[in-house]
Symmetry: D4
Subunit: 226 residues, 8 copies
């Protein structure tokens, strides 16, 4: 085994051809790795000239990377860490609307938004328009309808996704969040609600997987753009 990608990292094999197969470089899921491991992977990707998106990055890792690379950026709320981006800011395409049901869903909504921006999409982030006061959502529908794809982020009963999918003519990517307590069972209630919605045009990612939704939304948005 002597390929360049695993010359000196015995704990990680950077998938350097991912770019060619899927159009986007590998992303670093930081949680579950030691700070040393995550740092080494980021450094290695940097050496290969790849832009880096780190998700669920804690403050300790962020501090190390910010100190080391002047173009690193870290968002505390979403725990998104970036070095560069797939497209320059002024060359982002289309529009992704990220819609959060409540204030507590913002960290995951921002994770989706920053991920989609990193990958090359324009993003509009719309907060606190849950279904308990549904006019708040309807007030924002004109903005939401400008998007080519909508990301709906909600915990508890997750009903935002179904209501939205009945109002727009584009795909809705639903992100259940672990916001809530008791019978929310860590996001299970929102997950099941989004999966079983009576409105078609919804597909769902893992609980709290803002990145996954941002990635999928960007993929749809970009393909559309070609």
């Amino acid at each position: 085994m002597d390929s360049p990608e695993n010359k000196d990292l015995d704990f990680a094999v950077i998938d350097s051809h991912r770019d060619k197969r899927t159009g986007y470089p590998e992303v670093v899921f930081c949680s579950g790795k030691t700070t040393d491991q995550a740092e080494a992977i980021i450094v290695r990707m940097r050496e290969q000239g790849l832009p880096v998106l780190g998700t669920k990055a804690d403050g300790v890792l962020a501090e190390r990377i910010l100190r080391r690379f002047s173009d690193a950026e870290y968002d505390e709320i979403s725990r998104i860490l970036t070095l560069g981006s797939v497209r320059p800011k002024n060359d982002r395409k289309g529009l992704v609307a990220v819609v959060a049901a409540g204030t507590s869903d913002i960290p995951i909504a921002k994770e989706a938004a920053l991920s989609a921006e990193f990958l090359g999409s324009n993003v509009e982030l719309i907060n606190d328009v849950g279904i308990a006061g549904i006019h708040r959502l309807f007030n924002r529908l004109p903005d939401i309808r400008k998007a080519r794809v909508v990301v709906a982020v909600a915990g508890m009963e997750g009903a935002l996704a179904g209501v939205l999918a009945g109002q727009v003519a584009v795909p809705v990517i639903a992100v259940p969040t672990s916001v809530g307590y008791g019978a929310a069972f860590g996001g299970l209630s929102a997950l099941l609600g989004m999966l079983t919605s009576c409105a078609p045009g919804i597909s769902v990612v893992n609980i709290d997987n803002g990145f996954g939704a941002g990635y999928q939304a960007n993929l749809i948005n970009q393909t559309t753009d070609q």
Copy 2:
């Protein structure tokens, strides 16, 4: 043990004082009893002069009772069987709105409606106003707002309850139904969604328990009436 209520039924003890404690006679949950048992209980209640509400009654039992008692009524869709009622039809009070999300929820919605009517409430039944086309619900809000209590019946993600609770000034009794498949897990998705709704003013009964919702709605409606 020689009280009148258990003289000759060795498998059932009719709670003949229930009326005095709770304001309403006992109700016969027919499923799980043999046809002979259910029939014997109904006959015995009739002998005691009590009006009878039988829930989840199958056609075989219904046929027997209809043949035996000329004032018996049976609704095939909701499987509700009645002999008389707590209040005469022309003396029903207040208003309960029973709102069903989809056509498949109608059996349970009718179970709620007929139960509440039997117990003495006026009922308005409103069908197929699920959240995928939410204007259908908004079209009916003026009717719904006339009620003193709303019963929201929905399967799948059960979002109807939360949307309704944000629009009305009265209590919402939510009934999750087992309508749906896959991740609906027999009504679990709707149940969890209704329990964790971000909108206050909702309380929930068991999956497919139309009777329980109609009973609770009538209780609220009647108390209001005093």
Copy 3:
């Protein structure tokens, strides 16, 4: 988007018409929001002249609000934070009985009681009358029967709700709590028990959702009062 309610909060949209639709202002669920966010929402609601009910508020937030507003009140046990109330204390209506099965259920029972009082109901709080020594409950039945609605708060098997519903002529709102261990599974045992009770006249809110029960109970109590 230039409506007054979202002029300067980018993370929250206060539902300032909620009052008109549902009769009560929005409530602040503090858990899951940062202290800064919760504080800003409370300040904004205050500026709009709204009374504030904060639920699941931690001590840090409480201290900040108590320092800032002289009429703020905080109850450590239930973690309820209030500024003003919907009705003045001397104009509360009707009666809600809040009944707690055990000493460990008191925090949630108090959350229900303080919520209902904030919204305008008189409340009687009755503690430690679980079903293991059922005469303790029966001793208190005369008090409980004075209420227009009963809130039953219990963890473990949650049997209090069913026993109560068989003894009173008014609606029972059941609150399962996460009290217990092992097969209590964080309140699941009480939740399932309350949902499947053989006694009608019960509807259930989320595990540990004292506020939701207090809100629903007040709604029933107040409607009754009109």
Copy 4:
């Protein structure tokens, strides 16, 4: 391998020393065996002079055995099949009270009762004393208190066990049943409720395991008798 017990049955090894180790012969759980297998096992036990208790036996097997052995008895409701008994009827000992919450719980309650009788206990079967009308239970407490052990059989929320355990000075063996629907989840609600009851003095057997409860109750009752 040439011991008498497996000479000609290749699908079953009768545990012929069980009697000596545990005081009671093996019992035949008929469900899951083919009719031929169950019949062959019963015939073999008969040849060895053992009394036979068959549980969850269907009508086809029962008919075959009744035709073959004149002293066989079959109870359709509980699906209990017996040939002889461990003690003659007139030599039964002590007293086991089997208490069923509702009419639908009777099949399992009778399974417990007939099992305990087969094994040598006197049994009192008390039906339909669920907690929704708790005076029905209290009316029967004097009878129940005569027993050395109580079997409490209930579906739905299963609260009967906890209420009973707070009223008697002997062990309660609780049997959750699969009676109920929706959130009863096939007996899970009753099972969890019985396991987490706040009243001590309860231990629980499997859902619908009337036999297991009758066996355990007899064991306690008989030991007491020595």
Copy 5:
């Protein structure tokens, strides 16, 4: 209430503006409705000049509709019933690849394929390329890569979705199926596997929801086409 859509169906409100809001007419989920109800809804939609897609339609309904409408088509395997289509066959756009892991997944895969075709997409259906013999999948990658969106249909561990998402540059819509037994728990294993896949670019619909996947895939494919 006098709008045309609910003039004579008391059990259903056809959402006749859905077309304008979302670009596609309502779809009839036949399971859970009576044959009479489903038929009446289809007739009514026909009268309004709408093309009809009926999902999970049983043979009895199909026979009635086929007898009544000469242009009706029914596919027994997928239980898809159509009358007309949103776009004529010769005007379908783009390409959706529907990839089935095993022979037993074909009914759901065909449901996805026929739904996407009805809505206006060209579809390539590729069967039996599960991951146990992964070269079968790799043989078909050139075909799959021609599509603008891929639907991955798999039961059991559902790993097809993750492997595919690592090989293509377009969105993957994953459909878990209930194929499998034991720990497949009715599709739960595939659902959880697809949701938690380490490969980004996947979003998931409900278990056995071929229609939902076909709808979402068409939405992405069509948007792309504009």
Copy 6:
């Protein structure tokens, strides 16, 4: 309400007649109560002359009680706190065998043992005889067979209960523990295993409920003794 038992504790109602109904005084489940509440209840019981058993008591509470009452005893491993006992040590009756599968199960086994001793039983505690090396259990069978009732304490697969029940002629009370990880799911695996054991003569208490098992075992042992 002026009965002696609730004169000055507003958070607890000591069930002072429990003794008469069930033969044993109330027990204090300390977890979930504040230290102040637990202390106050213990002090009050002391004033009423009752012996006190506190379960799941933490070190802070223990220290306070040990300082206050010279006859208090605390066992750190099982977190059992006692003041006096129901019977004096030299007047304990019969024999309960408490058998622990592994070293990690000892805290719960000791909770059972100390509870049964407090209530008046002689106890033999036998450790680390799990089924992986089953001869260790068989070596101790002569000791175990001297008991009138056996408590089997085990986590993981919980097989100890079933093996034991096949070897003894007395009731086995099974205690699943939360020992284990992964698919042990906090004791669920042991709980389900014990409930479904093919060996009759087992009944089960809640996960980690050593006290409940000790209580039930003592009840059986004592009844036997009369």
Copy 7:
């Protein structure tokens, strides 16, 4: 796409290189396929000269295949269908012991045994040696210890696997079965018990997956043989 393996089956791609990669031909899981599909696959494999093992085959399919191929064999109990075998009967290697806990586990045990024989192993099948009468198992240990690998088949609490693994020096492959009711939850109790056993040397296959166990056992046995 013109490879021989999918020339005329549009619903299945026979993995004709499987043999080379894994040492064994593909196996036909018949359940979930239509009879026509299963038959066509078997015919095609036959044409390619491959021996065929069909699992979970129903009687209708079996009849067709038995009529068509004179060397086909069908075992009704295990629903195993074979045409030829990987090794001739007189050239089977080593020894696999398949041990079934109870009579009801025999269908799955036979599925394991016949699968391993088809693939080339000698098999000893040992029935009804569950842990409730553990001497029955110990009587057979000398036979079991002759095997190079042991398959342990058990439902309910599944304890057989752990007891066996503590007694033998070879790998144990555990098969949980769906035998049991109530808290057995379709095999979940046995599955969790086997996964969490305190005895090392066990690995587990899916519930009721006798084939999977036989395949794995043969793999171990054959490798050993080389």
Copy 8:
């Protein structure tokens, strides 16, 4: 009871004949034992001349043992603690390949690897070859195919096991890990995926049970070697 093994440890019975029955000495599962207990057991095993493998050992225990025994070794990542080994390093046999899907799975993979080495196998550890970039796995297949048994370690959807089993001719032991979040439910998604894989030749151990997999792999590898 006077056998040497339990002379002075009252909390543990070392199974000193395990060696003879199963070929390997007992292993110390350190988690759940107090540091004192674990230390005492290790010391006792040392006195009996047994090599020691401690799993899930925390740093505090490790430090004590390293200070006390000069030949002790501790690996922080896998928390494996060893004193000596079953075979000397230069006498290890065969080859076990341990394959980890991602960097976060390395602790469990190393637990498997070090366990197998301790027990006498040569091990090749291969990291970060998850299925999202499947060529990384295919690059390493030549190495993997040299092994007599493969351990596949993966969290999230756990698909690595199924892909591997379709590519090798030896048994795969699958270890689900708790790596992942949301619908990974602590390893449940990987566990179910591995159990239900469509590829035969897989058997599964408990979530995060690296040791169990290493033990089983060594057992297969060693048997093969004889």
